[in-house]
């Protein structure tokens, strides 16, 4: 028969942690950042690599979802074309609040090397962005560091009052 090795009485009592509502809500939010699968171009490959076993996004609680209604953070990984711009806005509107946006790579930040008629010169012309990751393409480490910075940003905010809705205009 197995022997219980856990000493429930250590630390002087039952396993209880005291904290504030802010902290526990932010803990929940920042450690289960479900990301909307949004690979638009080559940066999407790096985003997929971050999700795969070597870099293992799951340990941050970041799990890719294929539906905006289940996602908290939109990682815009790639080149946003003008034809696609209305759909990114629609998907952003379908995400439930609180929601965050990470703009990944030069193309999403500024249009990057595609200084042409068909490319949106930065996704922040369409939706508000929380975090810009430089690089072409950023390494998976950059994306993971970006997610950690986003977690810090979430923890720095008060969770009690409903998050102020972000609007571009």
């Amino acid at each position: 028969m197995a022997q219980h090795k856990v000493n429930y009485t250590q630390n002087g009592g039952l396993p209880i942690a005291l904290t504030s509502v802010d902290k526990i809500v932010n803990w929940g939010r920042s450690n289960s950042l479900w990301a909307l699968t949004y690979g638009l171009a080559c940066c999407g490959i790096e985003m997929m690599a971050s999700g795969a076993s070597r870099y293992d996004f799951d340990r941050f609680g970041t799990i890719f979802r294929a539906s905006p209604r289940q996602a908290d953070v939109m990682i815009v990984a790639g080149t946003l074309t003008k034809k696609h711009a209305e759909f990114i806005k629609r998907l952003y509107d379908q995400m439930t609040e609180p929601r965050w946006v990470i703009s990944m790579g030069s193309c999403a930040n500024t249009g990057g090397m595609f200084n042409t008629y068909a490319t949106v010169q930065g996704v922040d012309r369409i939706i508000p962005v929380d975090l810009y990751l430089p690089g072409c393409a950023p390494r998976p480490e950059t994306l993971q560091y970006g997610v950690m910075l986003l977690q810090q940003k979430i923890r720095a905010n008060k969770a009690g009052n409903a998050q102020k809705a972000k609007r571009l205009m």
Binding site: K82, A85, E86, Y117
Partner: protein, 268 residues
């Protein structure tokens, strides 16, 4: 070999200026040099008028009349075994003489030969669709319509293929600016937020080399980041990056370099 040009000031100059530059032609040779091409040309000439024919880089090029195209391609497909239309599109000669050149690249798998069929149309004129002969022409003709505005008669679905349906302008015309005209520049803003949003969102920033040290809205000095919109004075304190806040995070263990384990045995 290309003529040598001095390269000392090459970076100061724009690397490309003339969008109407016409590349010199490679040498042409007579069709008689190739037996198979000579036979093919004779068969085509028996039924249709051929304005010009020559061999260029091992391919025969023939110039025909615009309204013969369906008949010529049908003849080539059914009797000459040119069973594939590998590519077709147009070339903009509007600046030279207000015409478009239309070309069809034909491939015969059994003869292992390629023929390019060409004709010229005036600006605004439509071409005859060959979609009934070759399915590949379906999308090619739509792309030609999208990029040059050339319509194809009898095409089953003559709509834009790459750009959105409500786009204005034809980007492969040589007069179309690479960075887009006014319609293109405001397309997504106008469509999503409406014209009155133009002032709020502002024009596109197209200067990729632009860096402004004093603009904290769009730039950050590495290691000295400040909140967005702060006025830059030049003596911003150093900010050290860390994965977690000082003092730790509720329920999350802090990464600590000393206690982390470095795996240096790859065979572990």
């Amino acid at each position: 070999m290309r003529a040598y040009k001095p390269k000392d000031d090459v970076q100061a100059k724009a690397y490309y200026t003339d969008r109407f530059y016409v590349a010199p032609q490679v040498p042409k040779s007579s069709v008689e040099e190739d037996e198979i091409f000579a036979n093919d040309l004779a068969v085509i000439k028996a039924k249709f008028e051929v304005k010009d024919a020559y061999i260029q880089v091992e391919q025969m090029v023939i110039h025909i009349n615009a309204n013969d195209i369906y008949g010529v391609l049908e003849l080539m497909r059914d009797e000459l075994a040119y069973t594939q239309l590998s590519e077709m599109s147009a070339i903009d000669w509007l600046a030279k003489d207000d015409t478009f050149e239309i070309f069809y690249q034909m491939l015969s798998m059994t003869k292992r030969k390629r023929i390019r069929v060409k004709y010229f149309i005036k600006n605004g004129q439509a071409v005859d669709s060959v979609e009934k002969l070759f399915r590949s022409a379906d999308w090619s003709e739509r792309e030609m319509f999208d990029m040059f505005g050339i319509e194809a008669n009898n095409h089953p679905f003559m709509k834009r293929i790459l750009l959105p349906y409500d786009w204005q302008g034809n980007p492969l015309l040589k007069t179309y600016p690479l960075e887009g005209d006014e319609f293109a520049a405001w397309y997504e803003v106008d469509k999503i937020y409406g014209k009155e949003a133009r002032d709020i969102i502002g024009p596109e920033l197209r200067d990729t080399a632009h860096v402004d040290r004093y603009d904290s809205e769009r730039f950050a000095r590495l290691g000295h980041e400040v909140p967005k919109g702060t006025e830059i004075t030049g003596d911003e304190p150093a900010v050290s990056a860390s994965y977690q806040e000082e003092g730790g995070v509720f329920l999350v263990k802090k990464l600590d370099k000393e206690s982390s384990i470095v795996i240096d045995d790859p065979q572990r």
